[in-house]
Subunit: 415 residues, 2 copies
Amino acid sequence: MNQAVIHSGCGAEPGLISADQAMQMMLDYVQPLTAETLPLSQALNRYAAEDIHSAINLPIFSQSAVDGYAVCADQQIQPDARFELIGEIRAGQAADAQLQPGQAIRIFTGAEIPAGTSAVARQEIVQAEACGIVLTEALQPHADIRGMGEEVAAGQLLAYAGQKLNVGAIAALSMAGIQQVRVFRYPKIAVVITGDEVTETVEDLSSGQIFDANGPLIQAWFQAQNQAVDMMHVQDSEQAAVDLFHSLKHQYDVILTTGGVSVGDYDFVRPAALKTGFEQIFWKVKQKPGKPILFAQHKGSDQRACYLLGLPGNPGAVYIGMQLYAAVLLNALQGKKQLPEWFSAVMTHDLKADARERFLRMSASFDQGLLKLASLAKQQSHMLSNLMQANCIVRVPAGQPVQAGQVLQGLFIQN
Amino acid sequence: MNQAVIHSGCGAEPGLISADQAMQMMLDYVQPLTAETLPLSQALNRYAAEDIHSAINLPIFSQSAVDGYAVCADQQIQPDARFELIGEIRAGQAADAQLQPGQAIRIFTGAEIPAGTSAVARQEIVQAEACGIVLTEALQPHADIRGMGEEVAAGQLLAYAGQKLNVGAIAALSMAGIQQVRVFRYPKIAVVITGDEVTETVEDLSSGQIFDANGPLIQAWFQAQNQAVDMMHVQDSEQAAVDLFHSLKHQYDVILTTGGVSVGDYDFVRPAALKTGFEQIFWKVKQKPGKPILFAQHKGSDQRACYLLGLPGNPGAVYIGMQLYAAVLLNALQGKKQLPEWFSAVMTHDLKADARERFLRMSASFDQGLLKLASLAKQQSHMLSNLMQANCIVRVPAGQPVQAGQVLQGLFIQN
């Protein structure tokens, strides 16, 4: 804990850690939560806690790729080849027939290929005759048969431990007969909004007060991820925060606070966290906005950890804090120990130097495969309205100006 | 309706429309749903039905940008300037004081600036004295004051009609005092899975049957968007489909089907739709996978429309159908009449020509700002496992090979 840092200046104090260092410290300190078994239908966007292997071959049996006729021949199949029609197999039916040379069976896309089949003739190259069919084109051996296991063999690795189960993964696992999965538990999260100045309704707005943006921002952020969190508000008093943290630390995996985390006379989040037994992992990051970020952990007698992520009170800083630190923390708790996956893109104009690394809201657009960045006005940490136009946040290195054409890193935000 | 097209071949039949034409027809035919008023907290990812203007100035009052001292001086403020300290204003408190030249007041970030303030001196450049403060640096007029309305003026346009209210928008609107919004109603959607061959559990799996991927895929797709849909299954019988469509068309805005939409003997979705009074808008698109796509509308006596989007039964085609057609349809119903917003990217290898436009699952990665594409194996329409590796779908133009270095369009998929 760096006691030498005692004020919140506007510049970069010596000894502050970088955003990359801070996020790496989160990855180093955070222990993944335990795993749980869920029905696959409830596992969207969770992280696999173990490798997942296919329960079956895919296709599960050899099947027709088209609507047509399964035919059996003991030699190459030429145009004008004739076959006796002996039945029909629909998708979903068992293929009980055993085709003999010269026989054909009506078959539909996805239906099981009967024993003895040489190839499937799609219906477009088949003409009906009195007691059978005749082909209008030659047929290659195995034509239009999807072979059993040609996509996936039973037992093959489908998803690795730590992989996020997105929509495509849920579908692919369903198809492979996976009914339930071991995934990391989603953290139980308490969101604590500080600040006597914030109010939610016009009726409650008195002189000197402002509307709360941080609560709605964080709530929507979790809502977009389909996750419920418990929202609460604490008065600007150290004792109130001590009492609250004391009760929360045993019930939650994460306490996420906004505001009160700098060194002002009413910045009581850090003192209250230290008084309730949290150990500081880092405090203050050389970035703009969002310098006074606190990350701390509490370990109970059972070694169960509760993490406290203290974001600043300015909503611009909260937004960046959620996209970077909250995202890294939640992923790490679910076994995905990885820094943000930045895109690279080219600036279309110059930017002045700043002593701290900046995270700017920008508009990115593709031009012949090249991602081009334009910064937006109104970037100050208390401003949010440019999120109406932004589609990404871009990191601008500290200490030197950026020139048009320079490559920077960024993250897309959901539009 | 093109009655000349009577079979489902593998190639591109003359007269088929392109994917762009098909999606444009959706935009042309679809009428937006009515609007509704929602609390802002329930409006995430909805589309604004009218322009939204700020209820207030932002900042709502002039406020301090830092923890420090509001000072009043009738001349330039030099180092060693001294001020009498007359009180304190915390964030959330009304600024009742009236500063006189030579006076200062303790003030905190976000607190209301009292009348008479010349500038705010941040606490780092202030030293305490017996009965006041002394500055260690000169101070510019208006330093560290956030002026009332400097970000947004009361009445200013914040969001335009048709804009999607993402996380950033919800936060920005909250901050501007917006409590409720007019948004387009989200469509009521019935998802109808066809196919006697699909089953959900191992216990039910008999010979010739497969696990259902389409139901889980579509359910997860809507779940990822926080939307509930009604899932149902219909037997492979035209009468069962007629009965079902008949009851659904008055209750739902959209019927989304999978399977049974080609021209096989058991492809009953289109005949059943036509028999229940749906008018075909298009059927079959010159694309791969997913050629036999049906889009139809039913207008009740009250002119209320129900749209039927019939996707093929192969899960690869369903995935593409959801990303393209379902997305365009749902957006259009919510007032956003816009084709997909493609990225552009550069292929890293050659691709063979195909008679139809293809939508391939690929892996995209940034290299110095340039987005580079690599195709994945196992692209056939009945295969899904490569969605575990894919992060985008890419459109490959019909009729000509693609060479390494060529620019193609694509869409990111959620990872």
